[in-house]
């Protein structure tokens, strides 16, 4: 019903798409819902949907981390984020795969740490808004999440006991820690590396971990969760600034006519996004994601084993000792409403092949796309939604809300123009550089 009857109907070909990209313009006549410059005249209904997408609110609180909004913790977290001493070989930091200049990702299809992993590095732009972390949502908070890359044998390869030794060895790390958390726990008599390995009880790291007394294990776990809480305080600051789309919405909200903040193409793309293409069903709200999981029916990846996504993530989430029900969360009680998301979870067959809906702010900066980085460009992503491959989904069932859209070449350019308008300013040095000192320097007053 929002479709203009005046555009020539062409079946989509790669060639046609390319021709359009190279600037071929199409003539169109003017239906009632279009303004004189060709931009959509948004109806009251469309306007309601558009206003639901902007402005970006403040990130939700995380009462499970009492330092989530502490500036001092965020400073130390930033120091840690860029510190390669947190990796086994001393050559990697979080920023290796979440680089501010690469959209807080790494520009690679699959992340490469000590080994090549089986997933794409997600952006950290606006990560504080996520309800679940990782593509499969196997942790429930940023601080709980951060323990895994530190210890993954494919990523940074450290262990929580190894980290404690590093903090004893390097005076700056120790000073930064102690300024926030008090005396560093003792490392006397601990093995060089040790951590739990839930998937392999015979693993040497697990065997070493078994040598620790329950009190020692508790102290080490608390220590590594405190590093996570500092990292989270920093990551919570990685939020998008104002994009052309936000300025356009502000104009629309104020009923300013003929906003120049979005090109006519981008406005047409917006109309598709909330209308015929139905992207807004999952890319909902001001971050353009619903923070939940869907199976969009990507076919099997040629080189990777089948990934069950959320279906495999759920049991890990519930078994994670760092989740909101565990002893390291700062929630005042396990019954706190923040834990509702854990109390009522259910694992269903439909979770097979579901992945977390990515946000679309800054999307131009964060390619390659999808959980396995299979699409190099946004054009490829849009072609997927437009045509849908002939092959069946890698696993599970493609949701009914993903029909082949059969977008016309010009419609693909419109959607692309809209996605490009979701880009705000780059992160400033207060986020993108490692601080010189792990502790905030107070200016003399």
């Amino acid at each position: 019903m929002l479709r203009s009857k005046c555009l020539p109907v062409k079946s989509l070909t790669l060639l046609g798409w390319a021709a359009l990209l190279s600037g071929l313009a199409l003539a169109a006549c003017r239906p009632a819902n279009v303004q004189s410059d060709g931009a959509p005249a948004f109806s009251a209904q469309e306007k309601t949907l558009i206003l639901s997408l902007s402005p970006r609110p403040r990130p939700p609180e995380n009462p499970g981390n009492s330092l989530a909004d502490s500036a001092n913790a965020a400073h130390f977290g930033r120091y840690l984020f860029y510190d390669t001493r947190l990796s086994l070989k001393g050559d990697q930091s979080c920023a290796s795969c979440h680089h501010p200049g690469l959209g807080w990702s790494d520009g690679k299809p699959l992340a490469v740490g000590l080994k090549t992993t089986s997933r794409n590095s997600p952006t950290l732009w606006n990560v504080a808004y996520q309800r679940w972390l990782f593509w499969d949502g196997r942790t429930d908070s940023l601080w709980a999440q951060s323990v895994q890359p530190l210890e993954s044998l494919n990523e940074m390869g450290m262990s929580r006991v190894g980290l404690l030794h590093s903090f004893h060895k390097h005076p700056e790390l120790r000073r930064g820690y102690e300024a926030l958390f008090g005396p560093l726990p003792s490392n006397a008599g601990l093995p060089a590396q040790a951590r739990p390995v839930p998937e392999d009880p015979k693993h040497p790291l697990q065997q070493s971990w078994n040598q620790l007394s329950p009190q020692q294990q508790l102290a080490v776990n608390r220590f590594v969760s405190q590093l996570g809480k500092s990292l989270e305080a920093f990551e919570r600051q990685i939020v998008s600034g104002e994009s052309p789309f936000d300025r356009f919405v502000a104009d629309l909200r104020a009923n300013k006519p003929a906003s120049k903040e979005l090109s006519v193409e981008a406005q047409k793309g917006l109309r598709l996004f909330i209308g015929r293409a139905q992207c807004i069903l999952c890319h909902t709200g001001p971050l353009l994601n619903d923070r939940e999981f869907h199976n969009i029916g990507l076919p099997k990846h040629p080189h990777l084993p089948v990934d069950q996504g959320r279906y495999a993530g759920l049991p890990k989430l519930l078994a994670d000792p760092f989740n909101g029900l565990g002893p390291f969360s700062d929630l005042p009680s396990r019954e706190h409403e923040w834990n509702d998301k854990l109390h009522y979870l259910s694992r269903q067959a439909s979770n097979k092949g579901e992945f977390k809906t990515p946000g679309l702010r800054e999307i131009t900066r964060t390619g390659p796309y999808m959980h396995d980085g299979r699409f190099k460009s946004l054009e490829e992503v849009l072609l997927f939604y437009s045509q849908l491959p002939n092959q069946p989904p890698a696993t599970g069932r493609r949701e009914d809300t993903i029909p082949p859209l059969e977008l016309k070449p010009e419609e693909l350019t419109y959607l692309l123009a809209f996605l490009k308008a979701l880009e705000g300013p780059q992160a400033g040095p207060e986020l993108s550089q490692k601080p010189k000192d792990p502790v905030v320097q107070r200016s003399p007053s």
Partner: protein
């Protein structure tokens, strides 16, 4: 933040842009196909009679209206045909988006508060559009079903 009072006069129910039109025939999720169909006139009614007409079920959401993508609760009242409180019933509650062919990602818990009042915790509607809430009343050897329709709208920020 998403459950703000709706300020614009004309609000779009997403069903107006229904995906159904792209998908062809309506297909209810198999699990709930024996539940009564909601008739169009009664669609958003918060009070429904069960299929065999022995019970009336009334619900109120908390918060009201149901917020998009946030946990909410339901208060359910079960009465008999004469409008009298029904004690010692067992209730089962679930919800689907029939036109999208999926349910909720959560499993709500029902608590009997006595006097025919039940509290359902842990409901979450993660997508905008048309949902159906299914209630099974298990009482005095009878198992009867009721269906409620709810359209979840997106509201301006």
């Amino acid at each position: 933040m998403l459950n703000k009072k709706i300020t614009l006069a004309a609000l779009l129910s997403l069903s107006a842009l229904s995906v159904g039109t792209l998908l062809g025939p309506f297909s209810a999720s198999a699990q709930h196909q024996n539940y009564p169909k909601v008739n169009e006139a009664d669609r958003e009614n918060r009070s429904q009679i069960t299929d065999n007409k022995h019970y009336r079920v009334i619900y109120t959401p908390l918060p009201d209206p149901i917020p998009l993508n946030q946990h909410f609760r339901l208060k359910l009242t079960v009465q008999n045909a004469e409008g009298k409180v029904v004690e010692n019933a067992k209730l089962y509650v679930d919800a689907d988006m029939p036109s999208h062919n999926h349910g909720m990602n959560v499993k709500p818990k029902v608590k009997d508060l006595g006097k025919g009042i039940f509290e359902v915790r842990g409901m979450l509607f993660h997508m905008p559009g048309y949902w159906e809430i299914y209630v099974l009343v298990d009482h005095a050897g009878k198992k009867e079903k009721a269906t409620f329709g709810v359209t979840l709208k997106m509201s301006p920020r």
